[in-house]
């Protein structure tokens, strides 16, 4: 294993410290709970949007904190849910008169930690609710879930809820938007290689030199099947078919398309996938009004990608258009 790691046990606090130091005008960092919140504190008149999950998926979670996005987030160890006290402290730090909405990706560990934290915060008189994201069409149940997993579609839920909260929408309204996005977003991923959690030091699953895992989870969980590597267009067709047929999307739909890199795939390859996905979307009669090509939810250095399609209406389109600023900037 060759990685930029000092002590594997310090990997998460060290990268979080780096994110905080690189974004002094944007984020406050609490080392004890591995938590970041928006600089300048919480606007008590607006709904706070909170998230927290295992590390290793960046820029997901902590790097999605900022105006128009998350209010605060906490990190667990690599691929492990954050501890209950960190979740509880994050809710408390983001407490707002307008309420707190916790966006939880559907994994058992995350759900149990946030359940407990929500219960504790509620007992303290905090107005907090949870919403579970489950956009992955690959498998119904997995190693870490009852029901579908939450993956890259998470970005759209955060983006839309963050924008709605910024506009001063109520907790009920923001929650309804979370549901609308989740009901209309679908994702499936494919892995070309495994990833290596720093503390483990070895790949979390074995994949032959010429094999790919179709429907892989963002923790390397098994997907639908393992098959031989194929030309990019064929893999994209397989992903597109699985995603587009799921809700199903219909001819005439206005959609956003995301091609998300899993950490170890160059952006050029993501654009090869995007080119085919865009063509397939047009062929299916969809109007592609927005696109997102890059890394939004990764799995350490896993080579691979996921395809997400979101069905839009005027409301969601406007929310995606609204300004936002996070630590995951590109300029």
């Amino acid at each position: 294993m060759k990685k930029f790691v000092n002590d594997p046990a310090q990997f998460v606090p060290e990268f979080m410290k780096g994110i905080a130091l690189a974004n002094p005008g944007l984020l406050d960092f609490n080392a004890e709970f591995q938590m970041v919140t928006r600089k300048g504190g919480v606007d008590k008149s607006k709904v706070s949007i909170v998230q927290g999950s295992g590390s290793g998926h960046e820029p997901a979670h902590v790097m999605a904190v900022g105006p128009g996005m998350l209010t605060g987030a906490c990190q667990g160890a690599v691929f492990a849910a954050p501890p209950v006290d960190a979740c509880y402290e994050t809710i408390k730090a983001c407490n707002s008169d307008a309420g707190v909405l916790v966006l939880v990706n559907n994994y058992q560990g995350d759900r149990m930690a946030w359940d407990m934290a929500t219960e504790l915060a509620t007992a303290e008189g905090i107005n907090v609710r949870q919403f579970w994201i489950n956009d992955d069409v690959a498998v119904e149940d997995s190693l870490y879930t009852v029901g579908r997993r939450g993956v890259a579609g998470n970005f759209f839920v955060i983006k839309a809820c963050g924008a709605a909260a910024e506009q001063g929408k109520s907790l009920d309204e923001v929650e309804a938007i979370a549901k609308k996005v989740n009901d209309n977003v679908r994702t499936m991923g494919v892995a070309l290689t495994s990833c290596i959690p720093p503390a483990k030091g070895t790949p979390i699953f074995d994949l032959g030199e010429d094999e790919i895992e179709v429907g892989v989870g963002i923790h390397g969980e098994p997907g639908r099947r393992r098959e031989k590597i194929q030309p990019a267009d064929q893999i994209t067709e397989e992903l597109f078919e699985a995603v587009a047929s799921d809700i199903p999307f219909n001819s005439g739909d206005r959609v956003a398309i995301m091609v998300n890199g899993l950490g170890g795939t160059p952006i050029t390859e993501l654009y090869v996938i995007y080119a085919k996905a865009h063509e397939l979307a047009e062929k299916a009669g969809f109007t592609v009004v927005r696109n997102y090509v890059g890394e939004y939810c990764t799995s350490l250095e896993m080579a691979g990608a996921s395809l997400t399609i979101l069905r839009l209406d005027d409301e969601l389109e406007a929310l995606l258009d609204a300004p936002a600023e996070t630590a995951a900037r590109i300029f």
């Binding site: 501890p83 209950v84 006290d85 560990g109 149990m112 930690a113 359940d115 407990m116 504790l120």
Partner: protein, 225 residues
């Protein structure tokens, strides 16, 4: 009716740490019969932290103490046992905020609330061959004594016997929750390590009352020895 002092609850927690640490490998061995063999180690990892950080755990009142223990258990006990056991402590903590002593009825209520919380968290019910199969009859015993003689030690010792009986009563059931459920029929004819752990802890609490009893289930006899 005698109140249960905070000091007595602190002692019960210390006893629980000792019980869990003493049986670390044994509980894992039991888990290995149908589960993934990590139950004892998972539990011990959490209770070792409680033992080590005992002096730093707030003792202003029972609720504050149990809430901290709940956080440590949730954080350090591995697998689903962390949130499950942590939820039990959390529910008990919520009913004891600001209190420095409780009645037996309040102890029964704490356990009742813990049971509800655990059911909600893990989705298990009576007969699923989980720790609830021990906790539910234990709750009944505490309620009986709270409504009757109010004798704390008598209640704990009968509760220990009830949890102990649950080991044999559930032995032949097929697990429906937790890792053991994944092996289906293979989980029959094995004791549930969570039930054994609850029975063992209660027997050790009973010993603290100076009323040691002989366990019925072979596994509990071995774990209390």
């Amino acid at each position: 009716m005698t109140d249960i002092s905070q000091e007595r609850i602190e002692r019960a927690i210390r006893t629980t740490c000792a019980t869990v640490l003493r049986n670390e490998h044994y509980f894992s061995d039991l888990d290995g019969l149908a589960g993934d063999g990590d139950f004892g180690t998972s539990l011990a990892t959490g209770f070792r932290v409680i033992d080590k950080e005992w002096d730093e755990i707030p003792k202003t009142d029972i609720g504050a103490m149990l809430l901290k223990i709940s956080m440590l258990v949730s954080k350090h006990v591995g697998g689903s046992s962390g949130p499950i056991w942590g939820t039990g402590f959390m529910k008990a903590a919520m009913l004891t905020r600001g209190k420095t002593s409780i009645t037996l009825q309040e102890l029964a209520d704490m356990l009742g609330s813990a049971i509800e919380g655990i059911q909600a968290r893990g989705g298990a019910k009576l007969g699923d061959k989980t720790l609830l199969d021990a906790l539910i009859p234990v709750h009944e015993k505490l309620k009986e004594h709270a409504a009757g003689d109010g004798d704390v030690c008598a209640a704990l010792c009968e509760a220990a016997a009830a949890a102990d009986s649950a080991v044999d009563e559930t032995r032949n059931l097929v697990a429906h929750r937790g890792r053991a459920s994944q092996v289906g029929e293979r989980s029959a004819n094995t004791p549930d390590p969570g039930i054994v752990a609850i029975a063992t802890i209660l027997h050790d609490w009973c010993k603290d009352c100076g009323l040691a009893q002989t366990p019925n289930a072979a596994e509990v006899a071995k774990a209390t020895a």
